[in-house]
Symmetry: D2
Subunit: 381 residues, 4 copies
């Protein structure tokens, strides 16, 4: 009986691993352990833990570890505090392998807790390239990890180049694509405002609409407010119905939030409606039926490549990530954004399997079941 | 005025950076900031902070962060607790660059605190290969660091292969060699027992003597006691005067300490004398005039290569590190150890510059003064 | 030169100690040290630290210590994390006496850090009686404190009854009354919306207006939303201009906030305008010229007693606190609230010195300068 | 089914609560939960948790929380770190009542974690008077606690005087007396060195012997080494067989330990044998058959009063505690100690029930089963 402990620290990470968790749960000789921490526990970020419980998962440990401040000091403290409690949880649960997802800053706490405890560490979605603190975190976790479950061939190549043993690298596809695959359906079957509330000046309908998600960029602090204002102006001027999702808890999201609030009070953009959060299943459906997504979320690069949804990617946050045909890159500039939206409007949609074919969850589960588990390694050169 | 903040978490790290610190202190346009944390604050591990004060350095922040337990849980908590307070210190001190040394587990706290705070991070002694949790920690720090000050060409090569920008990698030599260079003198000018006390059954003299340092190996927990017992038997049987330095604070050192205590009480080895700690300057002198060093300390591989002191390296702790001619590798086995000591006895001593030529400190200081400071980077592939 | 270290963890505490801080700053033989932590560092709670800087105080240490969660788990972690860093700050600053204010949950961190470090601890505003976790916290701090600077004779009596040495108890009056005294002026000299923004459906004018502050009650979790809704209904039905201040960061404020948001979106009360925060000086002026205050803030009991402002005190949060003539107690019930407002409308205003005469700050500073400082004590019985 | 969660942070606390734990375990309608933290987890302090497991108790949560430093900074951090993890454990275990024992500095972490979480808190052994930081801690916990299970009538009186509701105060006797009662037997049935090892220069026999335990006194830091040296001189000069138990983990124990080590190496007292720890059952037997106990342990005041063993109490650590006939108080002075030993030698032994009659455990268990559980209270005056 192999015990697999998945540690989830954010809503977005849950959507990436959910498919694998379900597959593990159904395997007869595997035991799924679940630890939830950081923003996944918080109301402000959508209380992802409740969604997990609703999905039928039992949570073994819940850890409140977010230190408030929305600045680097708070990020580091959140990581340190998480580490302190995660290791107690791991000591109790005694898993055979720990799974950590992607590259959010606080996930290095999981990597350290597991690797220092001599528990084999599996890392989902290493080997990618972006432009942010995430870049450092992701590769540092690769160096702490023993198993690498990556989204694409190119990611596998990079992980191996970094000195990891090729036998420890598995191309599984991106698990978030699995969920995207399930969201493809002929028509949108709900009205987002009706179902999820949110706030805005005038109710809008899900027809001929856009979606926006724009996060602050960690190493461009002080500019987030100006950056989000350009996107607000663009969408306001465009005048089409726009569903805007609030940014998550990185350092600086406060500036972004402030930018949104100030713009809203001053210019009263009636075509934009704001949501704290939409659960991923419905969000993907909404995305699939949209005209396109604007901002700097990785969902635009990954899920949208598979769904074929046009993505206007703003600024540096996703720089370096492999792109399919659906992406147009623009600067923090109202006019560039509007021009790209215009250009995309008449292009045909193209779906791509760059980030997976919809079976990543199953493959991840199989690797976690079958791979040899070690916790000691050396550079290959 | 460039502000360089050096974070020291252990006695051994201090000896590696002291030369650079002195050079920085003397540079007109540089300001040295010093943060001392973890075992460097503790009586049990030689209170390194007092030595720094005696050497004329002003300590800007002192942080007690060692969580007791001598197991992986405590290691992780020590790291997390250190991180929480280090980031407050960095926020206060606002350095232009932070320096972290080598690969002890708790040093990743410094790397995270600096990199998440967007402060350029300089890493001393990356790119080496060993066989332990240190291996993971060292390379993870490389991925968090912006400047790499490595000991050898080979280390530089490895760091670049891992995807670091060659412009950010500098071969400075190992700073510990600088101290070693100063310790070379025609005769030993002190009696260690007279100067440093210690304990033993019968006073021994520093003539025709050996030195032993043996640390537990993190991922061989449960075997440390047996491992140290073999070395004890070997030295006891050899019968030559032996100065034995107690192990430091890694997980499991308690087992090693226990092994030593039990052997001592049971077999009463009169030729072995035990020290908690000998300051590095005197220790290097003692080393230089010894017949050789036995155990698994990195000092045997590095400083002794320069000094030409024969090293009987026991077990896996130093595996993968580049070696000069002075090293003989043996297993955890009394007979192997004795045979190697015997063999080395009649071989001529050879000094090597593999790990530096005695000017690393100055070079490190110069790089820290002149290098372009950035806190953002990407994989080169 | 006596060094007095004031630790401030919340906006409200700052207004209580500001007068004393100014007096200390002006004393020739005293040095003021200032440590700011917890919610006093956070944007969400009005960034009190900026106000201190604007007031000309130098902050010696800033500590981010709020763990998010707005539940008891987060409260305890906030306290623990604060403690860990406060003690490092105290060790650095080496004050002769530490000052802690009132009874917020996280202030026990200051009390523990000081008393365990053998630094004499002065406690402002002990000896009062309320109905909440504050009650436990306040008296526990009394037992850790060495000097007691209380607001009233009655409070002094209680502290002495608890076994404290009468020589260590000083009646200084409540320092918040000092600020209140300065706020008395013939006319309101600003428009709060113009100066502080805030949000609401329709701009209101400061004429014939009420003020509301309602915090959640820690041991009535789960009921906060219903409780605040009754007050909202009452003020909505009353129809008079109402300035409503958002609750602070106790466990459960999220429920209260949610209650407010939901009511606002559903019933659109045009006569209510919401502020995140109004700096205390202006807030007291606004209070003085209002028809009265509704809710459960201690300001209604303390400052308003001196100002003679009618207070409709809702629910159990202030139960046990000594009251002057200005207070009417009601339950969580719309009708009770409206009836009390009605009744108070025609009563004459009466000012009381129950909580001080406006010179507490100066008296506190004098006690801190002159009192004998000890850190050891015993029960008097 | 009432769930009682006992939190144990030190070896000594375990012996005080063990009887109650056994009684609870046997009650049909009660569930015992056990959390072990701080020095009770550490090898250096006798790994009390192993003893609990050997005694058949299941440990629900183990928490490593001791921050090293043996100074006040470390004490505060240990408390803060313990708090952070204890509250997570309580949140998981959801007990109906939490039990905290006596007055060690880190136990306030338990009190805060429980009371802030609105879980009723039972405090064992409040209402006593001593001369140390313990004094502050003990009474602060009383103010946080909801149920008071005290050792004597006098303690009950004090707790009530402090403003606690008389209905919440129960005189149960001191649970440590229960164990003492079981240790009374006609002859000592083991040789301590044979059974527990320890170290010394010459093996001694358990005949006509003394016992010593001397802890450092928190607020007399810097004097511990001198203080213990006086006791060492006294016992050395007395020349009788002496079993000496190493001090525990309070701030400053390092000084005391150092004092012992230095004396031992310098003066080689052949009549003194040192133990890290003797399990309480055997220790009490050893105590009962001794000539007397010297030092400043509370065991001398409490258990020895019941056993009638003469106690030479040195210094201020136990000052204020109620004493029976068996105690002679002396200063930190070799001659005073020797004179008191001499005087006691010929006095008859007198047993006292001042601290209980041997049934405290059962009574505590009954109160925890039957008492009304609340988590809200107010001063009675």
């Amino acid at each position: 009986m192999r015990k697999v402990c998945v540690v989830i620290t954010a809503r977005a990470s849950y959507s990436r691993i959910k498919g694998a968790m379900q597959a593990i749960k159904e395997m007869p000789d595997m035991q799924l352990q679940l630890v939830v921490a950081a923003s996944a526990m918080l109301n402000r970020y959508g209380e992802a833990y409740k969604q997990m419980q609703d999905d039928g998962f039992t949570i073994d440990r819940m850890i409140y570890s977010v230190v408030e401040g929305e600045n680097p000091v708070a990020m580091v403290k959140t990581t340190g505090l998480g580490m302190i409690e995660l290791v107690t949880a791991l000591e109790d649960l005694k898993p055979d392998v720990v799974v950590t997802i992607a590259d959010r800053y606080e996930t290095i706490a999981t990597a350290i807790a597991a690797s220092y405890s001599n528990i084999p560490l599996a890392h989902i979605q290493g080997g990618e390239v972006t432009g942010n603190i995430d870049e450092k975190v992701r590769h540092a976790i690769t160096k702490l990890a023993d198993l690498h479950l990556v989204a694409s061939e190119k990611a596998a190549e990079r992980v191996i180049k970094m000195g990891e043993n090729p036998d420890s690298v598995f191309v599984t596809g991106c698990p978030s694509i699995d969920l995207a695959a399930k969201a493809i359906m002929p028509e949108l079957d709900f009205d987002p405002i009706e179902r999820y509330g949110g706030s805005g000046l005038k109710r809008i309908k899900p027809e001929d609409y856009y979606i926006v998600i724009q996060h602050p960029v960690t190493d461009e602090r002080g500019q987030s407010r100006q950056q989000v204002t350009e996107t607000l102006k663009a969408m306001h001027e465009l005048g089409k119905p726009t569903y805007w999702i609030w940014p998550n808890a990185d350092s600086g999201s406060d500036e972004t939030s402030k930018g949104i609030r100030v713009y809203r009070e001053k210019y009263k953009p009636e075509n934009i409606w704001f949501f704290r959060d939409i659960p991923s299943r419905d969000f993907l459906k909404l995305l699939y039926h949209s005209n396109g997504i604007v901002g700097n979320s990785s969902v635009a690069i990954r899920e949208c490549s598979f769904l074929g949804v046009p993505a206007i990617n703003v600024g540096s946050r996703q720089s370096g990530r492999d792109r399919a045909e659906n992406v147009t890159d623009v600067g923090y500039d109202k006019d560039e954004i509007l021009k790209a939206i215009e250009m995309r409007k008449d292009m045909p949609r193209v779906q791509s399997c760059l980030y997976g074919d919809g079976n990543a969850g199953k493959r991840i589960a199989e690797v976690l079941r079958d791979a040899e588990l070690k916790f000691s390694k050396k550079l290959t050169y």
